[in-house]
Amino acid sequence: MVLDLDRCIESLFKRQLLAESVIKEICERTKELLMNESNVVHINAPVTVVGDIHGQFYDLLEIFKIGGYCPDTNYLFLGDYVDRGLYSVETMSILTCLKLRYPDRVQLVRGNHESRAVTQTYGFYTECMKKYGSPQVWHYFTDLFDYLTLSVVIDNMIFCVHGGLSPSIHTIDQIKVMDRFKEIPHEGPMADLVWSDPDPGREEFAVSPRGAGYTFGSLVVEKFLHENGMDHILRAHQLCMEGFQVLFDDQLSTVWSAPNYCYRCGNLASILEVGVDGERHFNVFEAAPENERPSAAEVQRAAMFANGIPTGLFSGVGSNGAMTSSPAAGNGNGNGASSFLTTAGMDPTQDAIHYFL
């Protein structure tokens, strides 16, 4: 297949979906590329680090506006590209294309949402079914997720991962020898790297309230940085109302890049710009301006995803019991027992899906 990546990227910037066959091709090629990446990728500054995006496509466009476009700006994405937001497909498609087009300028780390079990629960599977009418695209992307690297080191000084540390991992070398090419397990070092959270109230490891990974404290952070000769840990994974959070005497930061999370949390977001001399600057931003934000109908559909009814997981395409069309501009939270929210309400006149190729 002849693939014009620049045209693909151009279409995706206009939020036009790529054809299923094109998605298949770009995923195949990106897997070949990622196969040769270590579980710990070493890069140099300057680089702009991006936290959780969760399908908030317009806010990703905002990030490119304020951080600069590829390949002029080097980017490191820390995972959680999909689920919850309305445009996980478009978000994942454009990031995959950018990685394929500029492999040395774009790094994609795996987040806890880049997983089959999680995407079936939190919205990505449903979105793929709605936009493509079959689970194929979900399969292509979730197979691709198995190839994403687990961590990145900037200038041998900053350790970047989606979640956090693991009681089983003391050195970078231990991460390098892991087999990452599989679904994220429930337990173990690979699960810990994408699920763990720092706990400023503690010194050591403790079982996490999330049901996977651990919480880790100050002594764990100090020991890890000391043993690996680094001075900072950079991660995402937790919602920050101010867009970022710095802990443990500036030894660890969280960067969060989905403003007004789920279109209702009202939080700020940020991207972290790492300079050549190691300076770290959090560039804070708000949700994308009014005229580029989703319409009221689309936000209501987001609320439907947020209260998700995944369709077609068990039965075939489309139907899952009675499908009633929901009112356009929602009159509150459902009235009475007869009308239950469905995702059947994708109004074709309001959401023109252009298929490319």
Partner: protein, 335 residues
């Protein structure tokens, strides 16, 4: 070994004159509820308003107080709410001879579409009856009750003043926080779930596609408080429990009774993640090779009431509930 026992003897006190206990079974129930803000529900409150009290307080049960008779008449919890809903929807038949006066009154009122005061719905499920202990009652005795399936006890002094509610969850939390003070508990923590006899449980389940209402009926019929939600291959997708009914009552989304169990699991996960800013793992489980101590840590950390036990392929092979935990712990006292 001998040096250990020397150390042990050196630290032993006569329990009666010391405030620092090293025997967890001797801890007084009253001390565990000391700082609790007690929430009670007036007996005349409607069931819907009583539910609101539970939701707002983030609690799963509250004692019901009759201000006219100046006495506590029972507890109201989500199990009672579930029974109430099933009776309301006529999904549950209770033979006339088994109906209490309160139940008959409740059924009559629902038939006439009258509001129901919570005093008729308290202890409706027949499970978790109003169980009281004195503040001086020792934890060893309370744990024995917990091991038989009682989820909570009301700590009430001799004058009838309610001091607080001591639940299985808060007791587990206390023991885990103070684990280092109770070296007697160390050996059991290291044992595997298999050694504790916790991997051969019957897993009561529901297929992800079945309706929530049918799952609730099933729970009521089998007298259990939760079911594993499985896919067609028997893989664990999640969990549906009686307390999930609170999500249905929030915003009165009774329509949620007719969605599939898997859909409900997703909804709950989605809203929990936004509220706490942290998404949880879709399934709360432990591997069958895990230790008892690890399982308790996970129960405490996730605030779950049970952990599904899975084998290496992800299939549910058993369940460890808080009742099971306390049955094991009370077994320690007897031995």
């Amino acid at each position: 070994m001998s040096s250990d026992s020397v150390l042990q003897n050196h630290h032993q006190h006569r329990e009666g004159i010391t405030t620092l206990s090293h025997d967890w079974t001797m801890v007084k129930a009253g001390t565990l509820v000391e700082k609790q803000t007690l929430v009670t529900i007036d007996a005349e409150t409607t069931v819907e308003d009583a539910c609101e009290v539970l939701l707002r307080g983030g609690i799963t049960s509250a004692p019901v107080y009759d201000s006219a008779k100046q006495v506590y008449v029972g507890m109201f919890d989500y199990g009672d709410l579930m029974t109430y809903i099933l009776l309301l929807l006529k999904k549950m038949e209770v033979p006339l001879q088994d109906q209490t006066m309160e139940m008959r009154d409740l059924i009559q009122r629902t038939n006439k579409s009258q509001t129901v005061p919570v005093k008729l719905a308290s202890d409706l499920s027949g499970k978790d009856p109003f169980c009281t202990v004195l503040p001086e009652t020792r934890l060893g005795a309370v744990v024995h009750d917990f091991g038989t399936g009682i989820h909570r006890v009301a700590v009430m002094d001799a004058e009838g003043t309610m001091k607080g509610i001591l639940s299985q969850s808060s007791t587990l939390d206390y023991l885990m926080r103070h684990l280092s003070e109770y070296p007697q508990l160390q050996p059991i923590m290291q044992k595997s779930l298999q050694q504790c006899g916790l991997t051969n449980g019957r897993v009561l389940s529901v297929n992800g596609e079945e309706k929530v209402l049918d799952a609730l009926i099933s729970m009521s019929t089998h007298s259990v408080s939760s079911l594993a939600v499985l896919d067609d291959q028997g893989m664990l997708l999640g969990n549906i429990s009686m307390t999930d009914i609170k999500h249905i009552m929030k915003n009165l989304r009774t329509s949620w009774l007719w969605i599939s169990c898997f859909q409900l699991v997703c909804k709950i996960r989605l809203s929990h993640g936004v509220e706490s800013g942290e998404d949880q793992y879709p399934i709360l489980d432990v591997n069958s090779k895990s230790t008892f101590g690890y399982t308790l840590s996970k129960l405490q950390a996730t605030k779950a009431h049970r952990m599904w036990v899975v084998n290496d392929s992800g299939c549910a092979v058993g369940v460890v509930s808080l009742t099971d935990v306390f049955r094991v712990l009370s077994g320690l006292i007897d031995s």
